[in-house]
Symmetry: C2
Subunit: 460 residues, 2 copies
Amino acid sequence: MQSSLDALKSILDADCLLTDNDSLQQYGKDWTNNYSISPLAIAFPKTTDQVAEIVRWANKNQVALVPSGGRTGLSGGAVASNHELVVAFDKMNQIENFEQSTQQVTCQAGVITEQLQQFAMDNDLYYPVDFASSGSSQIGGNIATNAGGIKVIRYGLTRDWVMGLTVVTGKGDILNLNSGLIKNATGFDLRHLFIGSEGILGFITEATIKLTRQPTSLTVLLLAIPELEKVKTLLNLFQKDIELTAFEFFSDKAMEKVMKHHNLPRPVESEAPFYCLLEFDATSEEIIERALSCFESGLEDEAILNGVMSQSQQQADELWKYREYISETISSRKPYKNDIAVTPDKVSDFLHKVDSIVSEHYPAFEVIWFGHIGDGNLHLNILAPEDMEYKDFISACEKVNPLIFSELQKMGGSISAEHGVGLLKKPYLSYSRSEQEIAYMQGIKLAFDPNNIMNPGKVF
Amino acid sequence: MQSSLDALKSILDADCLLTDNDSLQQYGKDWTNNYSISPLAIAFPKTTDQVAEIVRWANKNQVALVPSGGRTGLSGGAVASNHELVVAFDKMNQIENFEQSTQQVTCQAGVITEQLQQFAMDNDLYYPVDFASSGSSQIGGNIATNAGGIKVIRYGLTRDWVMGLTVVTGKGDILNLNSGLIKNATGFDLRHLFIGSEGILGFITEATIKLTRQPTSLTVLLLAIPELEKVKTLLNLFQKDIELTAFEFFSDKAMEKVMKHHNLPRPVESEAPFYCLLEFDATSEEIIERALSCFESGLEDEAILNGVMSQSQQQADELWKYREYISETISSRKPYKNDIAVTPDKVSDFLHKVDSIVSEHYPAFEVIWFGHIGDGNLHLNILAPEDMEYKDFISACEKVNPLIFSELQKMGGSISAEHGVGLLKKPYLSYSRSEQEIAYMQGIKLAFDPNNIMNPGKVF
């Protein structure tokens, strides 16, 4: 092994291979906590060519590789438990090219999401994919999981902004996929195959990303909702007249916890079982009038109990806190998270079913709901009773999973909306993908990574 | 053979298998003219299950299958020259389901584009993918070629509207891919692999399509441009302030021919080498003011010689004619068409290079340029001198192709922007895709269609 590590060292720049225990523990995992961490070493390539050489080395030496981006994943996709070499993209963090007329920027895979957002701002443009971990997550990881977040209803997922990719396949081939073309009908679009592939076909080393115009005046409506069934009414009502940039929801329990933890006032007069946060870009007075008129209709239809609309950017930011602070507020309770999706018309039915499954089997568990309800993506967070052992709690939640996922399957939903499969959802993949689909995915994997070197054991 | 055709008959409804010569000639081809047409028979399935049974029959009897949609393709992707069974989707033309709250419609593959557009209108919604052949082209064919058209700059390609697919693979498996979910991070998104796959992995039988809000007041600017270099300036200028729904261009030669053929007046005072047609949705007075201000800046920068803005829907339609009539106007001259793309910043350079290549080798050839310049997609149409044999003309154009495609390759462009590869561009695929990419595509093909039953001989 030492001789093969020496060969690896000769591929990399000086100080770009770490084997000390602290580094192994730090780079061998993501935000999950349930897996043992045991990588062989951590490599920090600086170029696509170095990544290709690492892959060739790995094939020759039969060493498995695990990609490591910002390590903010929640499904264990970047966990190294079996003496894999971790390929960390931290030193591939350069923005390489920007073309004003096409609004396209080419960057290395290790560029941090926030760094790209800031680069866009500096050029009077906007990179709209945004989520809680954007201060640490890397573009390569975002693409490998097709990251979503809070603006999907208006701006789509990471997939929709990727105009080109450079990847290194499991065979060590470097592929330049699409290079920024808007139209290119020349066979299978392999770029889209790599987006969301979680590093099991190859590693993304560079990406060409499209930017867009900045919003001018983001405005927030926070609405108290008498019952979840009304969300569908609201969605229809507002989407008919306004292009929403966000449509989020959270339960009263989530709101109560945020208010208490952060000492925030109740933002709307009425207490209600659910709250919706809508955002839109008020590019003209007319749009604000349309929003107000939708609000009035919502009150009349009894789809809204009460609400407040931001009058300034500062007030909009204040209202967002009630949604954005939820995850951090409950994090000390180590919630059991499930990131799931149905089509938006089925959200209400599904949520009620899950609530009754959990309360039937574990009446002492507390359920905190929030998420991107405008696109059907729910974050189900289950909190353990204070007196329960964490290990027992996890195993209880894992017993409930198949019941929840069966309901999802019946409704054609997804067991992982935006967090990927990784290790966490791998046992449940068949609830969202058929046996045949999984077989075809395995066939594709074999074509790109015949020696099963690339992030083996993840997804399927 | 007769006994196997009898077995096929038993799969299909009555009168759903045609073998008469007229039908063979009609259904065995698309809009191309250069290929011999020789199908075995034409099958008209009515359900996904029937398609799956046809594929199983084809595997058993080693008969190749060719999919046939609206037969408006321009690359020979739906041509049957080798005794293939043509699977025509004309009888799978039902809109099956519509969900108002998600704005999603599920339809069979044989639904005509215009039928879907009308269905959207009837529900106060909009299907924005539009092109010259939308009166005949079918949704399944649009998806199989990832059709683009005139609104791509604002609304994207067909890919961007497909929320779910039902496909039958070359093994005869029925896959339900994604079923309308907005977020679904559960392994490779096979839906995107089938979009643009030209029927060589399997056949699309149903699709779930997203609709959107209707534009309110589409407004057209027709601008005379002193030189093509200025297009980049214009694109930057307008896109900074306005969301354009179209950005088209055509040369003076194209305009002259349309005016003469359709007896139309010159729409702008100045004669110019190029014209640009810009469209935007004037949702407020402010947007019109912004457009006028961009126009003024364009005049000052000498990027615009002169222009006209529509004041009504009727006038907008009148202005569109100068662009939309081009194809039909020159069709009697049987132009040699090349549908190609570069990134928008390289359009001007590329066009000049092609002009000099053609004029150097064939000074008597006339070159007509038009296309979707806002997304870098050019339609190069070469007209033969009146006294030249058509066969000689085609062979001369084919000699020029490698020179043009070499330039495209240097610029990272595409040899087929939106028409697909089919038979026409197959000999040139390596100008846009690397040897390794083609090998991976072949590997994927093998996984989905091991017996090479599905549209064999197309693409690669």
